[in-house]
Structures are given as structure tokens and as C-alpha cells.
């Protein structure tokens, strides 16, 4: 074991440790070369900005561990946002003004994600449809549904005037951080310390072996997608509260970041491998990158290109890492 590795890091698995190095290096680079970067205010902004992605990528990690992929998360964010707003908005909500509006809306939002996840999971597990196509189709459908619903119900592209109780999640970064981190931590514990977590892994490594070993494969797969859907809903709750608006276009551009974060964090696209700390490191890395690129005042197209290049480097590093791991 490398004696140069600081003690707290030794407690992490090798993969997660390697993953955490990336944001660390980036942080040091940015801190050294970007004025105004390493200020408490900026770092606070950066963390708050990364919260939705953290929740979303955590859910995606679970699905990736089972050997699947969930492209529908972005559409779930939009649909959830619209449905939640339709329940609680003071302008057009079904429960406008009622004290029950916020709790019911939260339940509806989480339920939406769970339902879409159930649909995805059922098609994949029971009808044996390829995850990529199923979730691509649900993206198309749910995305369209969200726009249509908003238009039909309130004749607008988005819905404002959400109850103050709901907006607390947006106004209090500490609360949002608490919720997001709790969700990520719970998922981490679920993956490492519970039976279900091991089942996710087994299914991802080899579904046939898992089935014969008594793992309820279908149910496990469905659960993974339901979990991913609910995490997407939670992401939607965070974004909706922060922007104080229910809109079908929330989260539309997050998909590539989500998968990027998971892969940078050492999650395999072929199933079995992946950790929440690794993914969190991936999220942190992307948040640092995006913040740093903003600070450097680069133009839009450079930011896009640098992002691509960085994902490429991270993937390369991952290949190297696996090769080292295999050789040692």
C-alpha cells in the first residue's frame, strides 16, 4: 500500500480512492491558477450547484451497477416538476392554498419517478427489452407529456407561485445539502451494507448466476429503476425549489453529465462495479470543472470542448487504473 496516501483515504476502496484523486488534483490546479476560486463563497456556490447532479448520479449508479442504463432521468425531472407544480402552485394548483399542498405534491413527485421507474424496470426485466431503447422511448414520451401537461393545464410553458414551505428546500442551501447528502449516504449504505445492494451487484455481474443463486433478478432490476426514478424525482424537487418554478425543461441537459460523473467515479458501464463515493467524486469533479471554466471566462464552445476532453481523459485514466489493478 502506498504510504503517501493520507490516512483517511486508506479507508476507501482502491477504486474510490483513485476517483477522489481526480477532483483533488483539479481543485489544487484551479486554486493555484484561478483568482477568486478558493473562496468560501465560491466553493459554497459550487457545492450547491452540484447537489442535484449528486442525487441524480447516485440513482444512475445503482442502475449502472445492475448492468443497465437509465436515459429517462432527465424527462422524469421535467415531468415530476410539472406534476408537482400542478398540485401545489398557488396560481393553478389542484390543491392551491391548502396546507396539504406541499406534502401531497412531494408525494406525487416521488410517486411520478417511482412510476416511470416501475414502467422502465418492468419492460426491461419482464419483457426483456433493451434498457437503452426502453429508457430512450420513455424519455421521448415523458418529456412530451410534461410539455403537453403544462400547456394543457395552465397554457404556459412553466408554472410559478409554489408554496413557501416547498421553497424552503431552495432557499436554505443547508437543507438542500442535507437532503441530497442523506439520499446519497442512504444509497451508499444500501449498496454496501444491505442484501439488496449485493443483489444489485450480483445481477450486474451475471444475471443468470444471480437467478440460480436465488436472487429475485426481475424484482431487483425493477427496484433499481424505481430507485433511479425516485432519485430523479428528488433531483427535480431540488431544482424546482431552487428555481421556484415547475417546468418541463428542467434538467434536460443533465444526461451526459450524469453518466459522465458515474463513469469518472469508476462505475462500469458493463455492470457490477460502482460506488457512491466514487460517483460523488465524479460529481465534484464536474462541478469543479464547470465552475472553474466559468471563472476562467472561456467562451461557450471552449467549455463544451474542454468538457469532452476531460471526460475522455477520465475514461483513459479509468482504463489505466484497471490495468494497474489487474497487474498488481
Amino acid at each position: 500500500m502506498n504510504p503517501a496516501v493520507p490516512v483517511p483515504l486508506r479507508r476507501l476502496s482502491a477504486d474510490a480512492r483513485a476517483a477522489i484523486l481526480l477532483p483533488l488534483v483539479l481543485f489544487l490546479l484551479l486554486a493555484a491558477f484561478t483568482p477568486g476560486f478558493a473562496t468560501a463563497g465560491n466553493l459554497g456556490n459550487l457545492v450547491v450547484a452540484g447537489l442535484p447532479l449528486l442525487v441524480l448520479a447516485t440513482g444512475q449508479t445503482v442502475v449502472l451497477i445492475t448492468g443497465g442504463i437509465d436515459l429517462s432521468v432527465t424527462a422524469v425531472i421535467g415531468l415530476t416538476s410539472v406534476l408537482g407544480a400542478l398540485v401545489m402552485s398557488g396560481d393553478a394548483g389542484w390543491l392551491r392554498g391548502s396546507p396539504a399542498a406541499t406534502p401531497v405534491a412531494l408525494a406525487v413527485m416521488l410517486g411520478t419517478g417511482a412510476t416511470v421507474g416501475l414502467l422502465n424496470g418492468s419492460c426491461i426485466a419482464w419483457l426483456r427489452m433493451p434498457a437503452f431503447m426502453v429508457t430512450l422511448t420513455t424519455t421521448l414520451f415523458m418529456g412530451g407529456l410534461a410539455v403537453w401537461l403544462a400547456q394543457r393545464q395552465v397554457h404556459a410553458e412553466s408554472i410559478y407561485n409554489l408554496p413557501a414551505a416547498f421553497l424552503l428546500l431552495g432557499n436554505r442551501p443547508g437543507l438542500a445539502a442535507g437532503v441530497a447528502i442523506a439520499a446519497a449516504a442512504a444509497t451508499h449504505l444500501l449498496l454496501t451494507r444491505t442484501l439488496l445492494g449485493r443483489w444489485f451487484q450480483a445481477v450486474g455481474y451475471n444475471p443468470r448466476t444471480a437467478l440460480i443463486s436465488g436472487v429475485p433478478v426481475g424484482g431487483t432490476v425493477v427496484t433499481a429503476y424505481v430507485l433511479s426514478g425516485m432519485m430523479a424525482s428528488l433531483t427535480s424537487i431540488l431544482i424546482t425549489a431552487r428555481l421556484e418554478t415547475g417546468s418541463p425543461s428542467h434538467g434536460r441537459t443533465l444526461l451526459l453529465d450524469v453518466i459522465g460523473a458515474a463513469v469518472i467515479g469508476g462505475t462500469s458501464l458493463f455492470g457490477g462495479k460502482g460506488t457512491v463515493p466514487g460517483t460523488a467524486a465524479g460529481v465534484l469533479f464536474l462541478a469543479l470543472l464547470s465552475n472553474g471554466l466559468n471563472q476562467l471566462n472561456l467562451s461557450d464552445f471552449f467549455i463544451t470542448m474542454v468538457k469532452g476532453a476531460v471526460i475522455l481523459m477520465a475514461a483513459l485514466l479509468d482504463v489505466r487504473r484497471n490495468r494497474w489493478a489487474r497487474e498488481s
Binding site: 444491505t194 451487484q201 450480483a202 455481474y205 440460480i212 436465488g214 429475485p216
Partner: protein, 523 residues
């Protein structure tokens, strides 16, 4: 010089150099020697059997020949000239072809395309098109040589496994190979298909083709090989004409110690049939699934080891899958201690069933997962505490360590190592281990020793006995009749999806069992 102990060759070929010779080959990995001054040769027109336990260095030898590895020192010669391949292309160019245990065929392509995948006949005129007619003709010519009567355009997915093996050999012949390396080619073949394969090998021998035959089925090796080479721990510990060896001698050379018998003796002798308890452990009544099995009925008593013999495709594995709830059955009933057995594998595991499948790599293990995770997989539920089914990690660790020690999985293996990196024998021990942890009352073993070396086999047999002694019922499916005879209390024979014979211990007779499996016109 060499040649001092090369066996006398048949029919005036003394002057020809050997088809392949290994001259003081050494090879090590990370400082650990795997091959130590290996020295032997294989002659044209002869079948050379290469035997040894797993890890003895056979695959390394094959990899050297195939150009996947390079020797640290020593010289390889093919037909007398030095041979230093750098890749599979060099091996092909030198006329060396491999027939692997795992088939390298493409079921989505036709027979002809599989045969000529890298050597398609081109159409005239410089265009890259395949000349379909020439392709078919050549394919038919090759198929004739291996006695396959299929249309060359048939997709390979329609061929049974045995014929696919013959197709692999046809492919080697198509590549003009003069040296054929057959690595465990019979593992997935039925008795009849094996016979066909050996028949073909004998014919190829008369055409002057050299063959190196690797197998754990020592009976086959003794019956069909002309020369034998025995490897142990990277060293050649014996070689010579096959006639000079007996099975016992082979085993003792391979293992390096005298093994009194291949099968352990059951210390408390098997329970006699008449004193068995009334209630059978497993009661199978009239199981039928169209196209798979028909009207199968039998009982399995506690402590009984019941063998199931039969040809490939006779419905043995299908029966096992139905018993374990992996496949449906149309009619019939399965009872465990009088209670009807329902549901999928999960429910059946709870009822005390365990199933070691024939396909270790794809159904038995999660290859990329660690040894510990694989061992713990079946019994994780027992270590989970409600309400969120929190895992007792120390408890799991203890259980895994216990079974690992008990199974004597190689000490070089760590718990965190991916199972993929283990040898076949150790992998099979891991599969067995995960089921042993569940303390099954009914253990179904489908080809439990396929591709496993003698030493590991013996250990697996011992575990089977131990479980039976504890009162579990054990169903063993095997294509090796000797194995069933050596291990079982009773043998059932299946043929074309039906039960076609039953033999209690004492009436075991290899020929009769084979006859029951083969469906002769008399029955």
C-alpha cells in the same frame, strides 16, 4: 540432441523430424516458474496425449504454441525448423490449429462462413466479393472429411454441440493444419458424439496429421492416444507409448503420490434400500414438458447419491432445471418431504435445494466479482436482518473464511481476487462452496467435475459423500459413466427425455448403462 526416448514411430517415418518439439522450454510469470525445461515432441501421424492436473502447465504450453506467449528460454521446432510465433497468425501460417474446449464458432453465421472466416474464396476480377459457389464447394468437401452431412449454408445455431466440435476440426483441416491441438474437446459431447470424434481422429492420423490431445478423461486418453506425455508442476514427469501406462500409473504420476483409488470410500456404507425411511426426501411424479422430458418419476432418499446417466440432449440437464424451477413443466408433481415444490429458484433454495449447473462460467459464477462475494451469494439472506435487511458483514466474513478453508481453495488466492483469475478446479470449488454454505438437503450436481483435474475431483467427491452422510439427498448428472459408478448408490438412465433404466449399486454395469442410454432397437 534429443530423440533419445522418442517412441518408435509407425511405418518407416523415422527419418522425418517430429511435427512439433519442445526443447528445454522454460517459462515463468513474475518470477514463478511455470514450465521447467520441458522437453517432448509429437510425431506426424500419431496422437500424443498430454495429461496433467490443472495448473501443471498445459495451457501455458498451448499458449506458447499459439504465439500468445513467448518462452523465457529453450527452442520450439515445427517440422524440424525453429519456430518463434508472435501471434495467432504465425501459428496458422505454420500449419498449427487449435480445437478449444470452448467453441469458437459463430452461431449467427453459416457453416461455410465459419469454416472459411479468414480464408474466404474471392470472386474473380479483383473485387472483394466472396465467391459463394466456391465457398459452398470447398465447405462441402471439408464437411465430407469430418462426416457432416449438412448443407453448408445452414446456420451453425441449428447444429447440436457435438457436430459443432466436428466443425471446429473441419475448420482446422481447411486451414491446411498438419498439427492439431485438441484441448478438452469432449467435455460437451455425448458418448456417441465422442465416438464420432475419435473415429475422425483415427482417420486423420492415417493422413499423417499430428495431434496433441489434452483431456482429463484418462480412459479416453489411454484408449485413443499413441504416445503420452505427463506434466506435473511444469515438468515432464513421464512420457512414452500409451501402451506402457495404466490409469493408476497415470494418476500417480500426475498427482505425484499414490492415489489408492479415484473415488473415496464411503465410511458409513450407503443405507441399504430396504431400510430407508418411508418418506422420500424428493418425490418426482410424472414430470412432463413437451420437447424436453416425458413422464419422469423417481424418488430420492435422505443420504442417497443418485446418478443420472444419459447422452447429451437426453433431457438430464433439462430435468435438473425443471426441478430447480428454472424452466416450467406442463404436468407432473415435485414433492419435498411430502410438500409440493413450487415457485422459482428462490423458493426452492428455501426448501433446501441447491443446483450446481454444468455451465460454471456463465451460470455458476460472477466472474468479475470477488471470491468472497461469490461464496456468500446464496446465503446472504441468512445474514440479513430486517427491516431493511441489513447485512451482518462480520458474520458473512466468518462464514466465507470457514468454507474457504474447508474447501482448501488454493492459498495463493485472496478473498478480494476476482474469480475470473482462478483455475477451473478452484472455480468449481467456489461454486460448490457457495452451495455448501446453504447446507442443502437436496443437492443437484450437473457435470460437477467437467474439466477438473484428478486431485480436485477427489476433493469434490469427498464433499458429496460428506453431505450424503449428513442426510442430504444428492442427484449427480454426469456423462462419465465411470464417475457415476464410482460415486453413486443408484443410477438412473435417461434417453430422449424419458427414463430408460435404473440400476442399484451392485448391479452397476457399464455396458448395460450405455445400452440403456443409447436406445438400441431391442428396447
Amino acid at each position: 540432441m534429443k530423440g533419445d526416448t522418442t517412441p518408435p514411430t509407425s511405418g518407416g517415418r523415422e527419418t522425418r523430424p517430429p511435427a512439433v518439439s519442445f526443447e528445454d522450454i522454460e517459462k515463468g510469470f513474475f518470477g514463478v516458474p511455470v514450465l521447467k525445461r520441458v522437453r517432448f515432441s509429437a510425431q506426424a501421424g500419431r496422437i500424443t496425449g498430454l495429461v496433467g492436473e490443472n495448473g501443471a502447465g498445459k495451457s501455458t504450453l498451448m499458449n506458447l504454441l499459439g504465439g500468445n506467449l513467448q518462452p523465457d528460454s529453450g527452442q520450439l521446432r515445427v517440422n524440424g525448423s525453429p519456430y518463434a510465433p508472435r501471434g495467432s497468425g504465425d501459428a496458422r501460417a505454420a500449419g498449427i490449429a487449435f480445437v478449444h474446449q470452448e467453441l469458437n464458432l459463430f452461431p449467427n453465421l453459416s457453416i461455410a462462413e465459419n469454416l472459411f472466416l479468414t480464408e474466404f474464396p474471392r470472386a474473380a476480377g479483383g473485387l472483394p466479393w466472396i465467391d459463394r459457389r466456391k465457398l459452398r464447394d470447398r465447405a462441402r468437401h471439408l464437411l465430407d472429411q469430418v462426416d457432416l452431412a449438412h448443407d453448408p449454408d445452414t446456420p451453425v445455431e441449428r447444429l447440436p454441440p457435438g457436430e459443432r466440435q466436428l466443425l471446429e476440426i473441419a475448420r482446422a483441416l481447411g486451414a491446411q493444419a498438419h498439427l492439431l491441438l485438441l484441448d478438452e474437446p469432449t467435455t460437451s459431447l455425448s458418448v456417441r458424439e465422442c465416438a464420432r470424434l475419435f473415429d475422425l481422429m483415427h482417420r486423420l492420423r492415417t493422413r499423417g496429421i499430428a495431434m496433441v490431445y489434452i483431456s482429463h478423461a484418462l480412459g479416453d486418453v489411454l484408449n485413443h492416444c499413441d504416445d503420452l506425455v505427463i506434466l506435473r508442476d511444469g515438468e515432464v514427469v513421464g512420457r512414452g507409448p500409451a501402451a506402457e501406462f495404466t490409469q493408476e500409473r497415470l494418476v500417480s504420476l500426475m498427482v505425484g503420490r499414490e492415489l489408492n483409488q479415484l473415488y473415496p470410500v464411503r465410511t458409513p456404507p450407503p443405507v441399504p434400500a430396504d431400510s430407508r425411511p418411508r418418506e422420500p426426501l424428493l418425490d418426482v411424479r410424472g414430470i412432463t414438458q413437451p420437447g424436453r422430458v416425458r413422464d419422469i418419476s423417481f424418488r430420492l432418499a435422505p443420504g442417497e447419491i443418485l446418478g443420472v446417466a444419459g447422452l447429451m440432449g437426453a433431457g438430464r440437464s433439462e430435468l435438473a432445471r425443471i426441478l430447480f424451477g428454472l424452466d416450467p413443466h406442463a404436468s407432473g408433481e415435485i414433492r419435498v418431504e411430502g410438500r409440493p415444490l413450487e415457485g422459482g429458484p428462490r423458493r426452492r433454495i428455501r426448501e433446501g435445494l441447491a443446483f450446481l449447473t454444468e455451465d460454471r462460467r456463465h451460470e455458476g459464477l460472477c466472474l468479475e466479482a470477488s471470491v468472497a462475494d461469490n461464496l456468500a451469494l446464496v446465503t446472504l439472506g441468512q445474514h440479513a436482518r430486517t427491516p431493511v435487511r441489513w447485512l451482518d458483514l462480520p458474520g458473512i466474513g466468518t462464514a466465507v473464511a470457514r468454507i474457504r478453508d474447508a474447501l482448501q481453495v488454493s492459498t495463493r488466492v485472496t478473498d478480494a481476487q476476482p474469480v475470473r483469475t482462478l483455475s477451473g478446479g478452484n472455480q468449481q470449488k467456489v461454486v460448490l462452496g457457495k452451495w455448501l454454505l446453504s447446507e442443502p438437503r437436496i443437492l443437484i450436481l450437473d457435470e460437477p467435475t467437467r474439466g477438473i483435474d484428478v486431485g480436485a475431483r477427489f476433493e469434490i467427491y469427498q464433499w458429496i459423500h460428506r453431505l450424503a452422510d449428513r442426510g442430504s439427498g444428492i442427484l449427480v448428472i454426469s456423462s462419465e459413466i465411470e464417475e457415476l459408478i464410482g460415486l453413486c448408490d443408484r443410477i438412473l438412465v435417461m434417453r430422449q427425455g424419458e427414463l430408460s433404466g435404473e440400476f442399484p449399486r451392485g448391479e452397476f454395469n457399464r455396458e448395460q448403462i450405455l445400452a440403456a442410454a443409447l436406445h438400441t432397437s431391442t428396447s
